[in-house]
Every structure is written in C-alpha cells, then in structure tokens.
Symmetry: C2
Subunit: 583 residues, 2 copies
Amino acid sequence: MYIEHISSPADVKRLNTAQLTLMAQEIRTLLTHKLSIHGGHCGPNLGMVEATIALHRVFDSPTDKIVFDVSHQSYVHKMLTGRVGAFLSEAHYDDVSGYTEPSESDHDHFIIGHTSTSVSLAGGLAKGRDLRGEHHNVIAVIGDGSLSGGEALEGLDWAAELGTNFIIVVNDNQMSIAENHGGLYDNLRQLRETRGACSNNLFRAMGLDYVYVDEGNDIDSLTEAFQKVKDTDHPVVVHINTLKGKGYAPAEADKERWHWTMPFDVETGELKHTFTDEDYNDLTAAHLLERMAGDKTVCAITAGTPGVWGWTPERRKAAGRQYVDVGIAEEHAVAMASGMAKAGSKPVFGVCSSFLQRTYDQVAQDLCINDNPATLLVLWASIASMTDVTHLCHYDIPLLSGIPNLVYLAPTNRDEYLAMLDWSLDYREHPVAIRVPVGPTRPAMRPVPSDFSSLNTYEVTHRGSEVAILALGGFYGLGEEVRQALALKGINATLINPRYISGIDQPLFDNLLSDHRLFVTLEDGALDGGWGEKVARHLGPTNAKVRCYGARKGFVDRYDVDEYLTVNRLKSHLIVEDILADL
Amino acid sequence: MYIEHISSPADVKRLNTAQLTLMAQEIRTLLTHKLSIHGGHCGPNLGMVEATIALHRVFDSPTDKIVFDVSHQSYVHKMLTGRVGAFLSEAHYDDVSGYTEPSESDHDHFIIGHTSTSVSLAGGLAKGRDLRGEHHNVIAVIGDGSLSGGEALEGLDWAAELGTNFIIVVNDNQMSIAENHGGLYDNLRQLRETRGACSNNLFRAMGLDYVYVDEGNDIDSLTEAFQKVKDTDHPVVVHINTLKGKGYAPAEADKERWHWTMPFDVETGELKHTFTDEDYNDLTAAHLLERMAGDKTVCAITAGTPGVWGWTPERRKAAGRQYVDVGIAEEHAVAMASGMAKAGSKPVFGVCSSFLQRTYDQVAQDLCINDNPATLLVLWASIASMTDVTHLCHYDIPLLSGIPNLVYLAPTNRDEYLAMLDWSLDYREHPVAIRVPVGPTRPAMRPVPSDFSSLNTYEVTHRGSEVAILALGGFYGLGEEVRQALALKGINATLINPRYISGIDQPLFDNLLSDHRLFVTLEDGALDGGWGEKVARHLGPTNAKVRCYGARKGFVDRYDVDEYLTVNRLKSHLIVEDILADL
C-alpha cells in the first residue's frame, strides 16, 4: 500500500499519477472499512479523495493553508498529513476527531463543524498574511451545500475586495445533506452543463475569477487546475464537479442516506444496529403530516437537515408544498417563518439546538419583536446528544430564554410534547419554541393539559416541604429520582415540572417560600445564562437557598456523556448528597 | 399642497404624473423640514420619494404587501398611507416611529430596524399567501447596502424556488451608510452602466428574473416598470438606480454625513448642536490609529458602520489597508477576525451591541471554540444608548458572557478602557471582548493596571462590610452613588468594580461572605441571562441575599431613558431603599 507510507504531503508529491490513482483506491477501502465499524461522514469524504490528493500534490501545506468548510470531508486530508494511523487500525480510530483539529496537526487551522464558515475564516488567514507581509497560498474548500449559508455568501462577496492570493475550491457534488435547494444550484447546473462557459455565473457576478474542472474525481485534471491557480495574485474560484459517495455503490446510489452513517455491513450496506423504538424526531414528522392533512396552512420548514426530525423523502413528498427545505440558510428560515405566521399560516421550523445558534438575531428581531406566532422546534437539545465541541446542544436555553415575547416550553414526555405542539399551532398570541425531548419517547404518567396559554404556570407533581426540586424538560426523570432518593432519607421534597423555560411562576414561589428553604434547579443544558439562574435571581432577595444544576461553563469535546454528567454532579446520588449537606 | 390631502394610496392613484411630480417636491420639503428639527434618516428617504409614490400608484396596499428593508426609508410610505400628519406639524412629529410599525397602520407588516431581512420576511408573506390560496402582490424593497448581509443573500437564493408572485425592488443608490464594499457592488455598477443588459448578473445567477430602471427618480419610468411586474407569476428583481439624498444639495454632496442626521440648519446644512466633549467612539479610532502606526498587524474591522466608532473618512484613509470595511456582513467580520488572529495579526472588530446579535454563532464557533485572540469592541452597549425597539443595546451580556473562552471586560473609565484595549492587542491566550463605555469620557480616579491576564479578578475599590455593591462597567458611577448614600445612613458598604463580565471572582466572594450578608449587582443591560444572575447562582447555596439590578425582560420602544431607569429601580435612592428594607 502507498497510503501506509504517507507521513506528510511531501510523500504525496513523490508519487506519480498512476501511483496516486492506486492510492485513491486504497484510501477508499480504508475509509469504507473504518466507517463500517466506526460510523461517520461517508459520502462527503469518498467524493473528495482525488481533490484532496491533488491539493496536497500541488500546494505546500502547512505553509500553504487549506481550510475545509464544515470539515466533515477532511478525513482524506488527515490521512495525507501524518494521521493515516487513525484509519489503519481499529485501535487507533479515535485518535483523530471527525473534523479538522489544530491540536492534532499543523495542517489543520481551525476547529470547524458548522457549515459556510470556510471562506471567511480562510479570508482572515489571507488578510492576516498580507498584513504580516508573508506570501503563501490560502485555500478554502467549500461544498455546494454550504454555499447557501449567509456567512459563506458574505465571505464570497467580500473576497473580491481582498485583491491578493485567495483560492476558493467549490466542491460541487450536487447535494447538500439532502438534495440542494436555492436558485444558485441551478446556476451550478448551468455551469456544469457548459463546462464552466455559461455567462451566467454567480462567482463572476460577485467579482471573483473562475476556473471550472469537469472531472473533479480525476487527479490530473485537478492537479492541472490547482497548478494554474497556485500563487495567483487575486481571489479565484475553482469549481470542481465531483461525485458524492464515489467508489462505494450504496453511497453513490442513495446520497442522502450515506451522507453520515452509523456502522454498517460493507457488503450489503445495511446498518449493523437498527433502532425500532419510537423517537421524538420520527414522531414529530409523522404528527405534523397528520396535522397538515387537516390544515393546509401548516408547513414544516427545514434548513437543509430534514433527517434530524423525521422528514424522510417519502414524508417530504407526502407533505408537498407544506414542506419547505430552504437549504442551509437558518437565518432565512426563521425570518420566513415569521412572515408566514404574519400571513396567517402555521409554520413550524425544526432545527438542532447547535444550529439554532445561527439565528439569534432573526429570532429576536424578525420573529419576537414582531410577535408573530410561528413555532420553533429545538431538536437534539441535550447534554447527551451530540458530543463534538462544534455540535454541542447545550446553549439553546441561554440563547432563547431571555428573548421577550417568546414562549419557550420544555415538555417532559411524549403526550405533553404533542399537546404543546398542537397548542402552538393554534396559539396566535406569541411565537412558541419547544425544546423537543431527546431519545426514545416516554408516555405521560400524569394527565396532560391541552391549553398552555396561562403562561409560566409550573406543574407541581408532588407537594412536599423543605426542599423543592424544579426539574426542567428532559431532566424531569432525574428530578423524580432525586425526590424518591430523598424520600428514602425521610425528606418529603416537592417536585415541579416547570414547563415554561422563558418565565418564572412567581405565585408558586411565593407559596413555596412559606415552607421550603432549598430550591434545586435541574436543566439539561448550560448553566451560564440558563433557566436555573433566573430562579436564583428571583429567589436571591429571600432567605431560601438555591442550587442550580446543569453543564458548567467550558467547551468539551468528544466527551463520555456519563462521565460529563458526573463531573457536573448531574446524578441523583450526587444531588442528594449536596442537598443533605445544605439542609 | 397635494400631500396634505393624501389619506391613503387611493388618493395617490387619483393624481396624474405632473401632480405626483409636484407632490414629490412637497414631500421633500416636508421631509427636510422635519429632519432639520427632529433628526432622523435623511438620504435614504430623499432618494426613495419617487419610487414610493410609484409603488403606491401601481400596487394596492395593504392588500398588496410592501416590506421595506431596515425600514429607515419608509417615511414617504408613511406619508402616503394615512400618516402625513406626523410630517406636517412639529407637534405630531413623534406620532410615528422611524421604522415601519404595524401598530400604526395596516400598510406596515413588520417592525424592522436591522438590515437585510426584507426578502426573507416578504418571502414568508408570499409563501403564507400561497398556502392560504390567496392572490396578491408581495414586494420587498431592499437597498443595495443591505444586499451584502447574509440573511438577504440567503433570501434571494431561496426566492427562486418560491415559483409564485414575488417582487424584489433593489434600491441601488451606490451607498451603504458609508461607501459600499463587496464584489457584488461592482456587478451593480456593470448593470447600471449597461442599463441592465450586462450578462454578468448576480440576480439572474441566483435564478431570479430581472428588470432594470435607469431613472429611479422618475415617476413614470418607475410606474411603467412596476406595472410590468405587477401580478407576475414568478419572483422578479426590479433594480432601480436612485440618487441618495436627492433634492437636498448637502445630502447629495456628502451622502455618508447625511445618511442619518441630528437637527440642522436647512440653509447651511450645519448641525444645530455640536458636541465637543471627547467621546469613547472618537477616542477608540484615534487610539487605534496610533497603535497601527507602531504595529502593521493591527487592523480595524467594521461591518458597514465606521461612523459609530470614530472612523471618519480621513482616519480610514490614514489607516490604509489596516482598516477593513466588509460591508454589512457582521458574520463574515467575526469569522475573518478569527482567521486574522490565527494568522498572527491583531484584528479589532467594532460593532454596536444591537448588531452584535447577528454574530452569535460566529463568536461561539469561528472565534471562541478556536480560541483565537481577536478583539471585539462592543459599542453603544447601554440602556441609555439607542431607544428604538429594533436597536436596543441591552442584550450583549446575555449573548457573550456564557460563551466559553471569551474574556468579556467592562471598563469603568477612559484610562481603564484604553489599558484593556492595549492589553487585548498583545494578549494571545483568548479572544477578548470589551464593552466600550458610552457617552463623554471620564478619567480614572484610581490607578489602572496594564495587565488583565489574571482573569476574573475583581477590583475592590472600597472595603466595607454587610453590603457589597458590585457595579459593572458603565454602572460603576451608580454604584459609587449608592455607596455614598448608604454611608450617609451609617452603612459602610463595600464597592466593587468587577471588570470581568465573563466570570466570577470566587476567592473574593469567599472572603466577602465572612462579613457581608447582602450582595447587590448593577448592570447596564438585560437581567435575563445577564451577569448578575451568575452572581445570584454562585451565591445561591450560601446564606447571603442577592439583589440584581438591570433591565427587566420586555421589549421597550422609544422610551424615556430616565423613566425606564426609574421603572427598573436603577436609581440610587431606589436601590438604597431596597437595601435598607433587606437589611
């Protein structure tokens, strides 16, 4: 194998095209094997094998700096920059992260996991280079799916003004995670069909020079194009036409399914483990589809991530024009939802907690100042959900709960969630966000109301005294555990399902203060700026004590969830220990 | 006068071109007169007089829906939709806001004050219309300066997929607030120079139909173009070439100065009141310019708002390539700053608190996860700064203070601010944000350190007992007032300058807990998710009481600052009253 002997890009440069072509095969075999055991991003990496080889053949990384957008397609880059060991043997699979990581290698310049950032980040490297009087190539590699994101478009527009060396490789595989959406993709199609000659050209319209490579999986074609733009004195786009999933038949055939995969059988492509439990994501799409049938103004909106909340191709088809994928464009999605609600329809924008971060201003300005009754579903919001530092789903409560007018709800079970979702569709007073529970669904063990318009009314599920446990949303079960453990110690604690993240139930606190001296808040998210702090502020002037539990400040990466919960004392026995010490 | 008799767009439709042309003159006279007394957005409105008349001549508002981007150019629209009274007599000037406002009129559909949102909001109205089976025109009016914002570009890209009636009027006056920046502006120039015929066309590249109007200040040309696109069955851009500030010579001559103005003398164009006190904005640009001379890697970045932090045309010129205006593209600005810091240069991005909101994800992901040492200057961050609901500068502390790695500093005076700014330029450990004080500068009354790298070390400026007043940044003066008032009551309170918004000084609290039983936090911003809540959480498990002062949750619009401070009990006598009741 050639790939085993690649310890740096210098080794790539020593091989001829025939050898590199063989190496591309080897890389695909290693990638497919690792993914089949480990899971990860499949299609994006398989499609970028030749382009990554050609980049390292032509450019001199790390002096020349390559920045990969989203960086979920950087596995091949890792193999060619001293980290092939993490792809050769299962024992070392976890030696590298799934994204670029400067602590692993000087060939990685940023930790990147959100889309559409590469042009701006690399543009900054280029501007910084110019200020320091240095000379080297700066290359951004961005997939077509990321192009629709506002930050990428801002970066492209700005790039024209840089006026010095800057190379933007657009990896056009005709796919986002699902199919592409947006007018610019039709332009990419025109450019592919005319082999780059079409006068209608988004990149030229933004003031950038432009080169087209039709054979984006051919090492020599790519090498030639990269050599042509190497050491350019101005910004230039290199548009390469690649095949997502190339070399693994199932991934070529069903690009959406194979964008990211769990472990699978290489022969059949079938997942090694299948999940049959009902989950909240699947439940959501199924339920909305039912609601759509009865109300033609109900409309599901996604920003390029239909799969994360159950919108399979079949369901998308069934929803018809009541389903809108805006492409990776979260800002637009929120503003559009506000407009739709204003027009009297019932938009539901579902978005992962981590990607919701891209829409703070739109939620505040476009939606909440206007007080339009759209529904936001905040998905995967839990410490136990995504554990890559770029995908943490901890921060939605600090982000949303301080925005006036927004009603932010935390259901604790399946029935309560659906009741809240149904209620939000008909509620016309305010925008509503729902923190969708994570994992297998749990049925309600208590009656669930159908009307939540009496805002900030917490549910007291057990009235005791001395200690009140306020257990928010997904942590309600933890609260119940703590209550039971305290009961065994002879303490009859009150247990509360707060339901409303965005407000305080003042009358309830007034009542509880008469016979409680310790209030414990549990939330499945960041402590700083979170809901527990609102409780702590509210009770600050009283004689009661407050303890807030959640994730302490700090970025964490690829953590063991159980260990992280323990470190944050988010275990019932640790919480009970603290409570006993406080009393 | 014709304009006096316009009570709705129906009245506009009754006038012929000659009469409308005379009315345009009247409108300009009224606008200039009101602005000379009241202040407001000048150039944007003067340039849009004819286009607004033509819109209301052709379309049937409010059935047809017109959405103005930023809406600072909506004064003429207000005059033509039943609100001319607010422009006829000084007594009624404040009857309308400076932005579109649905509570004023059915002709206004959204409260809008941030840029680049109109295409998405109007797109939502169009999609909502389609779902409800209605038929009317939806029109977004967006200035060229707003086009560079990511949300607008996302919206344009998406619009092509709508496939039904949607009209996007691009008001090209060749200006942002200052000069335009970004490659797309060169494309607009090409389009103007070829009267729309150039094959290089950003809008067509995004999949949109396109119409060009060269005489964007000619009512008949505009009428003809709007009639042509009225009731279109697909999205179409109408690119109109207008003159910013048209009809008022000083505003035509110096477009940047006259974008927004304080009251002025109509004859001379001179401001009625001039401000000679040194302010923090002016100080900042002057200081950075000095630092740039000694260090060629120091670079100021603005996102289209140089004037808000002292970057006059002269200073911009002097800074040369050490000054970058990215256009309205805050997301790009933050990510670029991260890249520049990574490349070893010293970027300083200055941004108003309100517009900082557009960059949460970039601050968290592009900058802070990567821990690159860029400097962010958060400008105008105060309850007393901008009082329009769309421009509130209350929310930066909740937004930034929970993001790991970021050091967020709150200087209390001129010298401390400059020391922090200088320190941040040389500090290489973490990104630093500084909450720049607002108003006239105040000198230090205490020695100021030059090194702030011992993070989260609060300054105790007076050590007393019983009560500790933690007075953050701009509210330090208020804290001093409270301390002095308490002293008169025989209470020797401790006064603290916390300096660090992003962390808690745990050893100090441990020390103070021995002889303090009430802690009072004062912050010039929103309470929810703010810094005081962190203190409340930290002290929650202790026997101490905590009272947090700041702005209570709720959107407020055009408020009287003094009244708002009183309502929030942000007055020393009210705080003292509360403290005495607590003790």
